[in-house]
């Protein structure tokens, strides 16, 4: 036997009564924050509190697409940094995150969409992110399965091609970061539920869990879709968030047929082929807030109809598994990252919608710096909660699906 099997994130330990930092949520943003707290700031007395197991939520339920072709000047640099970090992390963590740098193709189905793409591309290029416009024929050369005929519901006019994007093995990122963080002394407590945060004189004093009270001066809530409910429940802070179930599905595995990530706003559909050969596809969110993570008959049928039109070869494949996760959507489709504002020592990193995966590495790094130094890094400043009061919403609609329950 070449490889010895030993626990990847240390032996299970008992929860201590105090830590320097407590991170609520065992998803990617917490793990990345913990990793960088330890690595770049030497803060290792950190506990991650996870109700289920690490990667239970969005971290394990996304379709693993990474890209940096967001729309606004505040967002693009953040996503670019995250995109550049994948090969670095693979090396640092000594864990193959399987970054498949295959490029993303956003299909455009109208002249208006083509114009919007031009603007998007201009922003991307300004920030040094490779992105360009191609016509339908070029798109067909990249993705031979594409139907570029005129007689489909939404004929393809062209596409925005973003070569540095691609797919990363999402589970590997969870386990890799957990491994890296645990190695430096971070404790990961699974099956442990946070039930409250104690404050005194406007300062965080402790986190209450079902396994006991933990004294701490700093706490971060980055619990994905559950963040808004926890933050309101623990501290009474209301957030401009709607939590929606978002679904994704995979087909039975095929030999290579799709070499790029293909997405279409008009069809509400994206598709890419995983390394295992499955076609992973999704996009739809329920049009009303809920925490069910249940899939719907309505959606799987819609998805089949959409794929039948723009990737008709896929009519011959079978859907094998569909699942749901949570997306915490904000009105401007940009996240909320804030700290030391409402309560001293309380930090939040939420409202990521369905962008949480792509951004986790860079955000973890900056949140770690925020928490370690108690000063907000410039790059995170525009994402403060106050922006909603000040009418500085971001208009981040580079997203594939640009709706929240409010529109």
């Amino acid at each position: 036997m070449f490889f010895k099997s030993k626990p990847m994130w240390g032996k299970k330990t008992k929860l201590k009564s105090s830590y320097d930092v407590v991170l609520i949520g065992g998803g990617l943003h917490s793990l990345a924050t913990a990793y960088y707290l330890a690595k770049e700031h030497g803060i290792t007395d950190v506990a991650i509190i996870e109700k289920n197991y690490i990667g239970y939520g969005g971290a394990g339920r996304n379709t693993a697409i990474v890209r940096a072709n967001q729309r606004t000047q505040y967002n693009v640099p953040l996503y670019k940094e995250a995109l550049d970090l994948w090969p670095v992390l693979t090396k640092e963590l000594d864990y193959n995150l399987m970054f498949n740098n295959c490029g993303n193709l956003n299909l455009m189905h109208s002249e208006a969409a083509m114009n919007a793409a031009r603007m998007n591309i201009a922003t991307a290029q300004f920030h040094g992110v490779e992105s360009h416009l191609i016509d339908a024929k070029e798109a067909k050369e990249l993705v031979p399965a594409l139907n570029i005929s005129e007689d489909i519901t939404f004929p393809i006019h062209g596409a925005m091609f973003h070569p540095p994007g691609g797919v990363v093995r999402h589970d590997a990122v969870v386990w890799g970061l957990a491994k890296g963080a645990a190695k430096m002394g971070v404790e990961i407590h699974q099956q442990t539920e946070a039930t409250g945060i104690s404050t005194k004189n406007g300062k965080v004093t402790a986190v209450v869990t079902d396994k006991g009270i933990i004294n701490t001066k700093q706490v971060l809530i980055s619990a994905g879709g559950y963040s808004a409910s926890l933050i309101h429940g623990f501290l009474g802070i209301k957030l401009p968030i709607s939590v929606l179930t978002i679904q994704a599905m995979v087909t039975q595995p095929l030999k290579p047929i799709l070499d790029h990530v293909v997405s279409s706003g008009a069809y509400h559909c994206y598709a890419n082929q995983t390394l295992k050969g499955e076609i992973a596809t999704g996009a739809h969110m329920d049009q009303w807030p809920n925490y069910t993570t249940l899939n719907t008959a309505h959606y799987i049928k819609h998805q089949a109809e959409a794929l039948s039109e723009f990737l008709p070869a896929l009519r011959g494949v079978r859907f094998m598994r569909i699942w749901g996760g949570l997306a915490d959507m904000t009105p401007d489709m940009a996240p909320i990252m804030d700290g030391n504002e409402q309560v001293e020592g309380f930090f939040m990193d939420c409202g990521w919608g369905y962008f949480g995966f792509k951004s986790c590495s860079a955000v973890g790094r900056h949140m770690a710096s925020f928490m370690a130094t108690n000063t907000c890094p410039d790059i995170l400043k525009p994402f403060a909660l106050k922006r909603y009061q000040e009418h500085r919403l971001m208009g981040e609609t580079a997203a594939l699906v640009n709706y929240t329950p409010d529109n």
Binding site: N96, M98, E111, K255, L275, A297, A304, P312, R315
Partner: protein
């Protein structure tokens, strides 16, 4: 080709009719009624495919399609489950994922490389140095995947969709399901019964064991099926797999069409008031070394090969089983001529005495407390090693078939995806459903009942509970059924054995992903200690068959390996679709999502270039010069975009026989057409449809003018329970008739509006309409209803001021 039995009452094949097909480029013949897999089996094929990772030979194992063992490419469509696909003339069948052939696969050597590929090995390799990863990734992509699909693949066949409603939907057409359907139907309810196999009967269908009073189980299945078929208010969908169940009882599935149907497959979405789930059980795989070697198969599979498809699975069969069905299969196969050197039964006691006697009478050796530990033979089973459960005694037998089955596992899928919980039950060794959703009931073998009487009693009770949900059953009737349920034998005891006493290097817990027991142990040691994480890390249960094979064994083994108490045994999550379903089938008719204007055809003829505007598709340009200069000039100087008349008036002449089909309010515009057609001397048949009785309109008027008027409703509350297309299809197949078909749709559909802009607008308009459009008579912003060319009713609004 093997000689097939043709005298068994249970057969579903017709040996007099041969069906030709092509396999690996050569022509072979199957028999009518064969599945692709059984036709190949009859032609001596034993290795159907190679496994995903290790390229191990794989053969017929379960016949229920819960693994990828027999997936092949048929007529260019990849990953078809040959064991559940009926053979059709001219099918072209190819093997998948092989270099060479399934028989001689050049990649077979990988099987010996497993030491280099522990669970999750790819996470620890191929990234140092970074530049090798892109190269390695390319190779991984090539090696991964099973079927091949060409990017320009065109999916053959016709796909349809229906959305019926009913009072009670019964999933599963076995004895419990049929009893439940009959019980609910007797209370006057509209029942839908869906069954995954092409015929009703479930497990009774292929069993010749005694049911009662010399009647066999098969006889009983036939009797129940006849009763179901003659009950008008039960609508039966056979060859219909249930794929999803959602709250408020929305049930989805898909049906495979027969030669007589107009569809290849159709998507079915049922809204039911109450649901009965009687999906029964599949067999739980037995875990031992090489437990998936071709020649190893489950008891139900071996029995059905003989009883349903008329062939013996092999010459000599060793049995290693843990349930009475195994003994029953051994006796039946022995009687049909198979040599059975030995039956190893996991159970020390608890066997049916009658079966024990039958085994003894036939002088078959039965060893209690024994189990198969290894199948030998490089490509097929040639020999098997059996051991006592404690591993002390050992015997070896030559054989070409090893029937191996640890027990049963219930098909709780529809309940679980609709949020029922599963709880481990030590008596049955089942994950039994608890906390069933509202108006959803379970019945039959999936609750652990094995006795025929108990199965039917539970079906009766569930059917009445469903009727009670619909307020059509009294408490007294329900009480009666409950009393009967209490008097019949309870759930049978299930075998506990998880794994034969082996190390598990080549003991596969998941066939599709080649996950061995060793891989599971490695995952747990690495800290992936819950089944859900083991699934993700080792891949077990993530293949084309999903949790079909590992669903039961994985949580049991995980708990055992970690020495957890029963209460901590947690099942893995089941996710829809419960049966992998073609994208083509889900898409159904896949009608265009956009609406088209009444003058769509004309504009297309004129070379219109169309764009989508809201939900409408409209002509945006009439030349490739997208500046629209000509149109703009026309609007300024003359008139533009006038392309009327708005659709053609119906062309009425004598053609012979005319069918006028309309649904809902579409019946209204159909009425004058039908009348005109009759006046022109045609034989007129009208078919009118509506969702339910209350929504049928103009029936009397239609009856008065037509020679025949057929009324259909979706829910069967009036006239025929059918879509209008069903009687239409029947009418259309009468040969020698000249037939014209008109379909009605409501006029004045909003959005089909046409602007008439330009200084000459009034001049043109006044020529074609029957009202005064002068500045005085038709004011600015006024809205009027009138007719264009005396035929087309329109609603118009004046927008310009000139």
């Amino acid at each position: 080709m093997m000689n097939r039995f043709n005298h068994l009452p249970t057969l579903k094949i017709d040996t007099s009719e041969k069906i030709p097909f092509t396999y690996k480029g050569k022509q072979y013949y199957g028999t009518k009624g064969d599945t692709v897999a059984t036709a190949l089996y009859a032609n001596g094929v034993r290795i159907y495919a190679r496994s995903l990772k290790y390229h191990r030979p794989r053969g017929l194992y379960s016949m229920d399609g819960e693994c990828s063992n027999t997936m092949m490419e048929i007529n260019g469509v990849p990953n078809v489950r040959t064991e559940t696909t009926l053979l059709k003339p001219g099918m072209v069948i190819k093997e998948q994922n092989v270099k060479g052939s399934a028989e001689n696969d050049l990649m077979g050597f990988i099987d010996k490389m497993d030491w280099a590929m522990p669970a999750g090995f790819y996470y620890d390799t191929m990234h140092k140095p970074a530049r090798i990863w892109p190269v390695a990734m390319k190779q991984i992509r090539k090696a991964a995947g099973i079927g091949k699909l060409s990017p320009d693949h065109h999916m053959p066949g016709r796909y349809d969709e229906i959305f019926p409603t009913c009072d009670v939907c019964v999933i599963g057409g076995g004895p419990a399901g049929m009893t439940a359907a009959l019980a609910a139907a007797e209370k006057g309810l509209r029942v839908i019964l869906m069954e995954v196999r092409p015929w009703l009967g479930g497990q009774f269908d292929y069993r010749t064991a005694e049911y009662a009073n010399r009647q066999t189980c098969h006889d009983r299945a036939v009797q129940l099926a006849k009763e179901v078929e003659k009950t008008d208010n039960i609508r039966v969908f056979t060859h219909t797999a249930n794929v999803g169940a959602y709250n408020n009882n929305l049930i989805t599935g898909f049906q495979v069409g027969t030669e007589k149907d107009s569809f290849t497959e159709r998507y079915i979405e049922i809204r039911a008031n109450s649901v009965v789930v009687a999906t029964g059980c599949i067999e739980r795989p037995l875990l031992f070394e090489n437990n998936e070697r071709p020649g190893v198969m489950q008891a139900g599979c071996a029995l059905r090969l003989a009883n349903t498809y008329g062939m013996l699975p092999g010459k000599t069969g060793v049995f290693s089983i843990g349930h009475d069905l195994g003994l029953e299969a051994a006796v039946a196969l022995h009687d049909l001529g198979m040599t059975i050197p030995m039956i190893a039964d996991i159970r020390e006691d608890g066997q049916d005495p009658a079966l024990l006697k039958a085994v003894t009478d036939r002088k078959i050796t039965l060893l209690k407390g024994w189990v198969a530990t290894e199948a030998h033979g490089r490509k097929q089973v040639k020999k098997v090693t059996l051991k006592s459960l404690d591993g002390t005694a050992e015997k070896t037998f030559d054989c070409d078939v090893l029937v191996a089955s640890a027990g049963f596992t219930p098909l709780t899928g529809p309940l679980v995806v609709n949020q029922a919980k599963l709880k481990y039950d030590a008596h049955t060794n089942f994950f039994l459903p608890t906390d069933l959703p509202k108006k959803m009931h379970a019945a039959g073998r999936l609750l652990g009942y094995e006795n025929a009487e108990s199965i039917e009693a539970s079906g009766q009770l569930a059917g009445l509970k469903a009727a009670y949900d619909c307020e059509n059953c009294s408490i007294a009737d329900l009480g009666e059924a409950k009393k009967i349920m209490e008097s019949v034998p309870g759930p049978a005891r299930g075998t506990k054995l998880v794994m034969a006493p082996v190390k598990g290097r080549k003991t596969f817990i998941c066939f599709d992903e080649d996950t061995s027991i060793k891989n599971v142990k490695q995952s747990i040691d690495k800290g992936f200690d819950v089944p859900e994480l083991i699934k993700r890390f080792s891949g077990a249960g993530l293949g084309p068959g999903q949790a079909g094979i590992p669903g039961h064994n994985l949580p049991l083994f995980t708990a055992k390996y970690q020495a957890l108490p029963d209460i901590k045994i947690r099942p893995t999550t089941v996710r829809p679709p419960l049966v992998p379903t073609l994208i083509a089938t889900y898409a159904g008719t896949n009608h265009t999502m956009l609406k088209r204007t009444p003058i769509d055809d004309l504009q297309r003829k004129d070379g219109g270039i169309f764009r989508n505007i809201g939900v409408w598709q409209r002509a945006r340009y009439f030349s490739k010069d997208f500046t629209s200069r000509k149109e703009i000039e026309n609007v300024r100087d003359r008139i533009a975009n006038l392309l009327g008349p708005l659709g053609q008036p119906t062309h009425i002449e004598k053609v012979g026989r005319v069918v006028c089909v309309g649904g809902g309010i579409g019946v209204a515009p159909l009425h004058p057409i039908a009348k005109g057609m009759k006046q022109a001397g045609n034989e007129v048949v009208t078919i009118i449809g509506a969702r339910s009785r209350e929504l049928v309109i103009l029936e009397d008027e239609m009856t008065a003018i037509a020679d025949r008027c057929i009324c259909c409703t979706d829910d069967g509350s009036y006239g025929r329970k059918a879509l209008v297309t069903e009687p239409l299809k029947e009418l259309c197949i009468i040969p020698g008739m000249t037939t014209g078909i008109f379909s009605g749709k409501p006029h004045g559909c909003h959005g089909g509006d046409q602007p008439v802009p330009g200084p000459n607008a009034r001049k043109v308009t006044e020529k074609v309409v029957n009202i005064d459009v002068s500045n005085e008579a038709f004011g600015f912003s006024e809205c009027k209803e009138f007719k264009v060319a005396d035929t087309i009713p329109v609603k118009a609004m004046r927008l310009g001021c000139g």
